[in-house]
């Protein structure tokens, strides 16, 4: 792949924009490593995304650069990072929408694996186990009979919240999460809202209160709504958090 100025055979534009990437570097496993920013330059191209740019940089300039892409289609949540300070998915970020200088940093709050790679999986796992993010059923399902059909409107409402890809942007953009390690984040609270809507889940509001009725849960939310601002799937976090807070507050009042 040619790094020089783009002169496409079908006569498109010459002399593409030169991009400057300032990328956070630190390898916790290397005793000589110190946190710093390295600079890489690359020619822009039509339709280029950060997935393409970072892979080109790794292939041609620094084979030790750490970052995570899996699906490269905005659905797995692996590539979330700070792009000029804002948490979002890198695979879906077109360089054409960015200024000439792009500063890339790993998401805060999560354990750093190295450079731009963070351990969201570990964080999400402990949150899922803590909040029991699965359908709590009354008894074993009879696999031989037809399943109970779900109301299509209920299924649609659940789907809207189920679209979460656990990328961690909401946690990285959260005022509470950066201060309090044990805060479950919008991702956790959204999951509670999702299971509350599920007719198969036998938990009542008093049960959900046990899980999130503290300042590590819904009452830790300061309503800054950085989560809603940065969610790459446009989840309705603002309304869900407000709704949950009301329902959980009601539990305290009614006992």
């Amino acid at each position: 792949m040619n790094d020089a100025a783009v002169i496409a055979k079908d006569g498109e534009e010459h002399g593409a924009r030169r991009l400057r990437f300032e990328i956070f570097r630190f390898n916790p496993c290397d005793p000589d490593s110190r946190p710093h920013y390295d600079t890489f330059e690359l020619d822009d191209a039509p339709g280029m995304t950060l997935f393409i740019a970072l892979n080109l940089i790794r292939e041609q300039q620094d084979p030790g650069l750490q970052f995570d892409f899996v699906c490269r289609a905005g659905i797995c949540g692996s590539c979330a990072m700070l792009i000029n300070g804002r948490p979002t998915l890198a695979c879906r970020t077109l360089t054409g929408t960015l200024p000439d200088t792009v500063r890339l940093s790993p998401l805060p709050v999560f354990e750093l694996i190295g450079d731009l790679s963070v351990n969201t999986g570990k964080w999400m796992r402990q949150m899922s186990e803590r909040l029991r993010t699965w359908v709590d059923v009354a008894e074993d399902v009879d696999l031989d009979s037809l399943e109970t059909p779900m109301d299509p409107d209920a299924a649609q409402a659940i789907y809207e919240l189920e679209r979460c890809i656990e990328c961690g942007c909401c946690v990285a953009g959260c005022g509470t999460a950066v201060m309090r390690e044990s805060f479950v984040g919008a991702v956790g609270l959204n999951k509670m809202a999702r299971f509350r809507l599920d007719p198969r889940d036998t938990r009542e509001d008093a049960d959900f209160f046990e899980l999130i009725g503290t300042d590590e849960g819904i009452f830790g939310c300061m309503s800054l709504l950085g989560c809603d601002d940065v969610c790459p799937k446009d989840l309705p976090l603002q309304t869900q958090l407000a709704y949950l807070r009301r329902k959980m507050a009601k539990v305290t009042l009614t006992g």
Binding site: A8, D10, C29, E59, P63, G64, R92, L143, D144, E147
Partner: protein, 382 residues
């Protein structure tokens, strides 16, 4: 596409569309870009309304990943690898026949649900069903077997691998992982891709073999600490090359076309000689994989291979195909009950974990809803 496939046009099956796209590019009719050749997909004729509602996902992909509006602009497309047919050969319970206690399911396994072509939607279906069944088998296996761990053996292998990684970091070899990786990708894409022939496959086998040898002299440019991606690639490259060689050699040996495996020099599907699976194993220290062939029993099939239903009838049937086809048709007429028919044609419930063997209720059967009144359908136990 209508020029290539008059009946189905763009909606022909994936392998057919991919081949036509690739041959169009090979004729020099593709568009060129910094990242390779491609074609332009024009869906502007479908209109903005249709695109915004029915093709919302496509529109969002174009918007987010290309910065274009497909209602107004052309979409750059090219065929790409999407799914891997084949994998670890397992029995019906998901267990490997060559390593006790090794279970595999889904895309990593050859169960074998797909053969040479994976139908759309089957990937998710297989994942769900195989996960359910193989998970059960695994649990049963664990309950039924004691695990005695020889810590000495573990230590021996750990130290061996640790020494190899340390050596990789220190030795300062001349070969670069990114160059080797790019060469492997290029060899596979060029010669073991959509169109294959003997010359191309032979060249691929030779080149991949040479790349495998060069792996012995890999040197790292980075420090190789922790999750260093260069170290990861150095570790994986010889293994990926071995896998690539299994694919290339298998394709070279298979003198027919079947599903996604398309030989320009052997364009017909040949059920008379090649109704079998290629099984590959790599003996330690060998330069090439060892291939053997597992024949399929056409007389045990519910759907004996025939004409796929569209395109040309270019296949050589198995000698027993007609006979099995007659048996299947007879059984279909003879048994009205689907469970009896299944037992007669291809019994399989004995292969399932016990709790999945009973008869399942099905919509529109036995009073479970009325086919003529879908609103009244469904509902569990009466």
């Amino acid at each position: 596409m209508p020029d290539y496939e008059p009946e189905k046009a763009e909606l022909a099956s994936r392998d057919v569309v991919s081949r036509h796209m690739e041959s169009h590019i090979n004729k020099g009719l593709g568009a060129t870009s910094r990242f390779g050749e491609h074609l332009w997909l024009d869906i502007r004729l479908l209109g903005e309304d249709h695109i915004n509602t029915r093709l919302r996902e496509v529109k969002e992909i174009c918007q987010y990943f290309l910065g274009i509006d497909p209602a107004r602009e052309l979409i750059p497309v090219r065929p790409a690898q999407h799914y891997s047919m084949g994998g670890i050969r397992t029995d019906a319970h998901g267990q490997s026949g060559t390593l006790k206690g090794l279970f595999a399911c889904g895309e990593a396994a050859c169960w074998d649900l797909h053969g040479f072509n994976r139908l759309g939607g089957n990937s998710v279906a297989e994942t769900v069903v195989a996960g359910m069944l193989v998970g059960e088998s695994m649990a049963d296996f664990c309950l039924g077997n004691e695990a005695s761990v020889d810590t000495g053996l573990v230590r021996e292998f750990f130290e061996r691998e640790q020494a190899a990684l340390d050596n990789l970091r220190r030795r300062g070899g001349a070969q670069r992982v990114t160059a080797l990786n790019a060469a492997m990708q290029s060899a596979m894409t060029r010669n073991v891709g959509i169109y294959r022939d003997a010359d191309g496959l032979q060249a691929a086998v030779a080149e991949l073999g040479s790349l495998l040898e060069r792996c012995a002299d890999i040197g790292l440019q980075s420090g190789g600490h922790g999750a260093d991606p260069e170290l990861v690639l150095a570790y994986r490259l010889p293994r990926m090359l071995k896998l690539a060689l299994c694919v290339a050699q298998g394709a070279l040996n298979r003198t027919e076309s079947r599903g996604a495996h398309c030989r320009l020099d052997f364009p017909e599907r040949d059920d008379s000689q090649w109704l079998n699976r290629t099984l590959a194993r790599w003996p330690a220290g060998a330069a090439l994989p060892q291939l053997r062939y597992e024949a399929l029993d056409i007389m045990a099939m519910e759907l004996p291979p025939a004409w796929r239903g569209y395109g040309s009838r270019d296949f050589i049937p198995h000698p027993q195909q007609a006979q099995r086809q007659r048996e299947v048709e007879t059984a279909t007429e003879q048994y009205g009950n689907r469970f009896e028919r299944q037992e007669a044609l291809m019994p399989y419930t004995h292969l399932l974990p016990e709790r999945y063997r009973s008869h399942n209720a099905r919509l529109f059967e036995d009073g479970q809803g009325d086919f003529n009144d879908p609103e009244a359908a469904g509902g569990a136990a009466e």
